[in-house]
Subunit: 140 residues, 2 copies
């Protein structure tokens, strides 16, 4: 997906296109890995000396609200984001434990779970989250 499409997406959601927002989208576009706010801050400091921590946190959250980034769940319970390359279709993520690369997994066999749970536990299933870990093609 091209940068321009993300920027358009941002605009459509009522956000302004600022240099920092653009730079953050570009950053995530060229890396397939997830990043922490601190890491994003460090990468941006070259082009934007003095950029504020709070700005980074806020932009990351806004980009997620706009559907451009997704939060990645991590054991250390800190914030991590990666680019959402399949905004339209439901999918899951494979995450490389070595290089942090995030790959979209365009498969979901959740129906079976849903049937099982509805039947055995008599619960109403509303959502599910799946995250797959391992080594990517480069790291394995």
């Amino acid at each position: 997906m091209k940068i321009e499409l993300y920027l358009q997406q941002l605009k459509e959601q009522g956000f302004k296109i600022t240099p920092k927002r653009k730079a953050i989208i570009e950053l995530f576009s060229k890396k397939k890995s997830y990043l922490s706010p601190q890491e994003v801050l460090e990468k941006l400091t070259n082009n934007f000396p003095g950029i504020s921590v709070s700005t980074v946190y806020r932009i990351l959250e806004e980009l997620q609200d706009a559907g451009i980034l997704v939060k990645i769940g991590h054991e250390d319970r800190q914030l991590y984001y990666s680019l959402c390359r399949m905004p339209d279709q439901h999918h899951h993520h494979f995450i490389c434990r070595k290089c942090r690369r995030v790959e979209e997994v365009d498969l979901c066999n959740f129906k079976e779970f849903e049937r099982f749970i509805s039947k055995n536990l008599d619960c109403k299933v509303e959502n599910h989250s799946v995250q797959i870990g391992g080594l990517c093609s480069r790291c394995k």
Copy 2:
């Protein structure tokens, strides 16, 4: 699973049976919901006035290490634990968004994922986490 079995499990792992550890296991045994360290602290304060925050955090971590508790992933990225009622077999969890009840889901159709990923992404799959949300039989 009976309390005694958990205590035995604790002992086998080289931990001592202390009143606070026992009380925490009992607490989780009678509630099927997940709890935060703060909540555990509050519940224990009745029987153990002056119990230390650090003790609660430490015990919770140790009980997880011993396989008695499991960490529950939460949007707010804070610590939550619930009792592990199926220590031996691989399973997943259904979590009620209203009452926080945690139900074991004794089903895993991950093989299909694994095949899909290995084939399409050429990755080595090592682990996966699945969490299902909704309303339990009581709350729906």
